[in-house]
């Protein structure tokens, strides 16, 4: 017990309790959702089991499991695309009886282990570009497979993982900028295509040129990078044509809220009304009208924070944000002090994933992030997500237990 880190366990347990209350309130009296709460509690119990188990596995075993787990996840993601049955136009789940397994969730866990194992190696010198390529490819492959399902939110969260972990490993800021620049380029071109405003893209070009002039990469790299950027700038408009209509509407709805008040815009407006009407103390537990009367869709999964915001007000929202903050803060402290580089990277992976998902998910309910369908860790209903995030907590606790070991 002495080695248990309450600074990590306490926020996780509190978030689980808040999530359970939210799921209970959101599903009460809805016949079709009557199994949701018991299942949510079952997932929490299983999750706690997974957390304890993972925290007790010797780090050496975790280290040697990294490669097999990565391969297993890779196979499961490919098999899903090949064999899975589409639900509402997307293939995200394997059906096992009445349960649906979402392989992209455990893939996050495998990816964190695999990336940590790669970055842990002392020979890895991130000042050299060739060492940056493997970790980016490892994550990019997963991200691409998930994108094909299609599941934009999860694909983005997977793509974000190596960014934080590479930074932690000592990547140069200029490399970070160059790594992110294709994404920025794509976004700017998209804005140009949609709104006719070429200003962001122009600004980006200026910054990119200045960085390249100062950094002076090798001629070969310069050519390669320029080609990549020209490729993106020309590919984005045609890619846009191929997106599913609902994805296009969501992206447009994000870039220009109010353009789609019937679809994605409707969800966000209702969610904003729910949270905004909560006030300081909220309308009281189980007294939410917006969420209770089913105006907010997906309120027990992706929009769980709308339930918290409406019923518990600014108080509840602050509590959730503070708990996430504490969890991330303590985890990052631990990441700085553990002696094992491998475990340190694992912690950074877990903490950055929580930060990313919490930001995107809550931001979406607040109308400042696109509606991408990403669950809120520890609160949203959903077995695969719950077990994965509890396993990640196990990983952090594991590091705490073995903090003096190299």
């Amino acid at each position: 017990m002495r080695d248990t880190e309450w600074g990590i366990l306490l926020p996780v347990l509190s978030l689980l309790v808040l999530g359970t209350l939210g799921v209970y309130s959101a599903t009460r009296g809805v016949e079709a959702l009557r199994h949701t709460l018991p299942q949510h509690i079952l997932f929490i119990c299983l999750g706690l089991g997974v957390m304890v188990s993972v925290s007790l596995i010797p780090p050496k075993v975790l280290y040697s499991l990294a490669c097999p787990l990565y391969l297993a996840s890779l196979i499961s993601l490919i098999a899903l695309l090949a064999l899975g049955t589409p639900v509402r136009g997307a293939v995200r789940w394997f059906s096992l009886g009445s349960f649906h397994v979402q392989p992209s969730e455990p893939a996050k866990f495998s990816l964190i282990l695999a990336l940590s194992r790669f970055l842990e190696d002392r020979r890895t010198d991130l000042r050299k570009v060739r060492w940056i390529i493997p970790p980016v490819s490892m994550a990019g492959l997963f991200s691409l497979l998930v994108l094909l399902e299609p599941d934009l939110g999860t694909a983005l969260s997977i793509a974000f993982l190596p960014v934080a972990m590479l930074w932690w490993a000592g990547m140069l800021p200029v490399h970070l900028f160059l790594l992110m620049s294709p994404v920025i380029n794509g976004l700017c071109v998209l804005i140009w295509v949609l709104t006719g405003n070429a200003l962001p893209w122009g600004a980006f070009l200026v910054v990119l040129t200045v960085v390249l002039l100062l950094y002076r990469p090798r001629f070969f790299h310069l050519i390669l990078w320029t080609a990549l950027h020209i490729g993106i700038a020309t590919a984005v408009p045609s890619l846009w044509e191929r997106l599913y209509d609902y994805q296009r509407r969501r992206i447009i709805a994000f870039l220009n809220p109010g353009s789609d008040p019937m679809g994605a815009g409707y969800q966000v407006l209702q969610s904003k009304v729910a949270i905004g009407s909560g006030g300081f103390w909220g309308k009281g537990f189980m007294k939410g009208t917006q969420t209770g009367l089913a105006f907010v869709p997906a309120r027990h999964t992706d929009f769980i924070s709308a339930v918290v915001g409406e019923e518990l007000g600014l108080f509840g929202m602050s509590l959730v944000l503070a708990l996430f903050g504490m969890l991330i803060w303590r985890s990052m402290n631990l990441a700085g002090s553990v002696r094992s580089r491998f475990l340190s990277f694992c912690i950074v992976g877990a903490a950055s994933l929580w930060a990313f998902q919490a930001t995107v998910n809550i931001g979406m309910a607040l109308g400042i992030m696109p509606v991408t369908g990403l669950p809120l860790p520890f609160l949203s209903y959903g077995g695969s997500s719950m077990l994965t995030h509890m396993a990640l907590v196990g990983l952090v606790l594991n590091a705490r237990l073995h903090r003096y070991e190299y």
Binding site: G89, A164, W167, W168, G170, D245, Y246, R249, G258, S259, D260, P261, M262, G263, Y266, L269, K272, V273, A274, I275, G276, S277, G278, G279, F280, T289, Q290, A294, F295, G309, G313, L314, M317, S318, L321, F324, G325, I328, W329, M332, A335, G336, V348, A351, S352, A355, A358, T359, I362, G363, L366, I368
Partner: protein, 576 residues
């Protein structure tokens, strides 16, 4: 290491900074703008009102509007808890029972927040009586909806088609494509085939409403994008003449097309229906009456019905005979019948000795029986298919029928050469559609097979427009063979002994072929196929009249009227 500390601080700062931003946004929503959202929430003040996009117009080739939109009033009730008195009064005023309204509300439960449409296209007196008692009807609203309107009534009803409400199952699919609940979709004809072009993109309004559901003000809106404008290949004046020439008492179809590019100039199917009556909310008994009508008025006989072609197929038999080199030197003269094996095959007259041109002109069965004695059915079927018979033409109208060209394999053990004798004069198992016949006669006229189409040009609301490119393929038949057959068809109309003399047009050389197809269920089907002018064909047509008798006396005069209107318009400087 100091650098490590900086890296850690940047990373932690970024993560926690994001959470702080979220908190600030929460604070802004809940505290700064809290009153606003609380008001919206407590009084449920926001209602999303979809705005339907105007369906695209349908015009003829010269820009005459064939289908347009007119505004109509729809009375609807908001899906909030209802007062029984409201429902009772509403059903008293509209004649729609309260149970029916509740049934519709539960049918659209997956799309809550959208008003339940009670009655569409409200007649004016009903509108006035509801308006008078507005304050006894909380939650009752009007929507102004576009309705399809047809300036020329039933004209070209089968080509244009009609619109209707989708079924629940269809709507589940359409909703994903952005369709709104209660929107009308194409059900047949061009309305169905080009649904995607005609249906625009709906818009929406956010309105703030009071406790009675009445609009206080508009919060924001997105304008709908109307559907594309479709110019059809139809020629309004020719279509009118064709409809009139066909008359209302007959059953059958007419197709007139341009054999150079496949543009369909007129298409008639009888009996017809009123698209105006069908487009909109259909009353149960009207639908039941149409559905149980044994004359199938909704069927577009020009593309969805197949018939034996009778003698109008003889040009094909002549082509196969000439290509296979069958020599008519030792054919016996026609004396009313021909014995083949132990059967006697009859002719409809006594024609004496004829060459192939005379045989086509006078439609002599005995001549073609003798050609068929030496004919290979598979080669015959090959040429039939090369001329587009027994296979879909690819016309841009829904539900095209294939027809049937039987081959040797089709008969199996039943095969006997006697069957070929019957097929040669277009009787027996062979089935063709009127549009196939129009295309076939066009191919004989020009030596090129076209894909018939009714869409000429599309004009998008943003000004872009594109035209349909003609699809033409060469027919693998030697030109000299075709020219002999054409001469026979010319004689059939212009010759003194021709069977199609009723289709003559003063000043223009018309070539054609009559057909009288035996019908086991009653009177013969009358056929006439033609093209004109003989020298440089610009129109090809096929007419079939069901159970009407002789092709030369029933179908040929209809074709004659259409052709003379077509050419008088052309003389007058019309566009065809």
């Amino acid at each position: 290491m100091p650098e490590d500390r900086i890296r850690r601080n940047v990373l932690v700062g970024g993560m926690l900074g994001a959470l702080v931003l979220l908190w600030l946004r929460t604070f802004s929503l809940q505290i700064v703008h809290g009153d606003y959202y609380r008001r919206l929430s407590e009084e449920n003040r926001v209602r999303v009102e979809p705005i339907e996009a105007l369906r695209g117009l349908i015009l003829d080739r010269n820009g005459n509007v064939l289908v347009e939109n007119r505004p109509s009033y729809t009375v609807a009730v908001l899906p909030s808890p209802w007062l029984d008195s409201t429902l009772a009064l509403l059903s008293e005023l509209t004649g729609i029972s309260a149970e029916e309204i509740k049934r519709r509300a539960s049918a659209q439960r997956r799309w809550p927040r959208q008003p339940v449409k009670v009655k569409r296209d409200l007649p004016f007196p009903m509108l006035a009586s509801i308006e008078e008692r507005r304050y006894e009807l909380p939650g009752v609203i009007y929507q102004i909806e576009p309705r399809r309107s047809y300036p020329f009534g039933d004209l070209a009803a089968h080509v244009l088609g009609y619109v209707g409400e989708p079924t629940r199952r269809e709507f589940a699919r359409l909703a994903r494509e952005g369709y709104l609940y209660g929107e009308l979709v194409g059900r047949s004809g061009v309305e169905l085939y080009y649904e995607r072009l005609l249906h625009g993109r709906p818009g929406a309004r956010y309105v703030e409403v009071d406790a009675f559901g009445r609009e206080v003000r508009e919060l924001s809106r997105r304008d709908p994008a109307p559907g594309a404008k479709l110019y059809l290949t139809l020629d309004l004046r020719l279509q009118e003449v064709a409809e009139e020439a066909f008359g209302d008492g007959r059953t059958g179809a007419l197709v007139a097309l341009d054999p150079r590019n496949g543009e369909i100039l007129a298409m008639v199917s009888r009996p017809s229906f009123s698209p105006e009556l069908l487009s909109g909310v259909l009353s149960e008994d009207l639908w039941e009456r149409i559905r149980s009508d044994t004359t199938y008025p909704l069927l577009n006989r020009a593309v969805q019905s197949s018939y034996p072609p009778g003698s109008s197929l003889k040009p094909l038999t002549a082509i196969v005979g000439l290509v296979s080199g069958i020599d008519d030197e030792d054919f016996v003269p026609c004396c009313g019948s021909l014995r083949f094996g132990d059967r006697v095959f009859r002719c409809w007259g006594r024609h004496g000795r004829l060459d192939v041109i005379g045989a086509i002109a006078q439609s002599c069965d005995v001549y073609f029986y003798q050609m068929a004695e030496h004919m290979d059915v598979d080669i015959w079927a090959e040429y039939a298919e090369a001329l587009g018979l027994g296979r879909p033409t690819g016309v841009d109208l829904p539900g095209e029928e294939e027809g049937l060209i039987p081959s040797r394999e089709y008969y199996g053990k039943e095969w006997a050469q006697g069957i070929m004798l019957n097929l040669a004069i277009g009787q027996g198992e062979i089935l063709v559609t009127p549009i196939q016949m129009a295309r076939y006669v066009g191919a004989i006229a020009t030596g090129r097979l076209v894909r018939p189409h009714v869409l000429l040009r599309v004009e998008e609301p943003d000004g872009r427009s594109f035209s349909v490119e003609p699809e033409v393929e060469e027919v693998p038949i030697p030109p000299d063979v075709l020219s002999v057959v054409r001469k026979g068809m010319l004689e059939a109309v212009e010759g003194e002994e021709g069977t199609g003399r009723a289709a003559r047009v003063p000043g223009v050389k018309v070539a054609g072929k009559t057909g009288t197809a035996q019908n086991p269920h009653g009177e013969h089907h009358a056929w006439f196929v033609a093209f004109a002018p003989y020298e440089d064909p610009t129109i090809a047509l096929a007419v079939v009249v069901e159970r009407a008798g002789c092709g030369g006396t029933v179908a040929a005069p209809i074709a004659g009227k259409v052709l003379s209107a077509y050419f008088s318009e052309m003389m007058a400087g019309g566009t065809p």
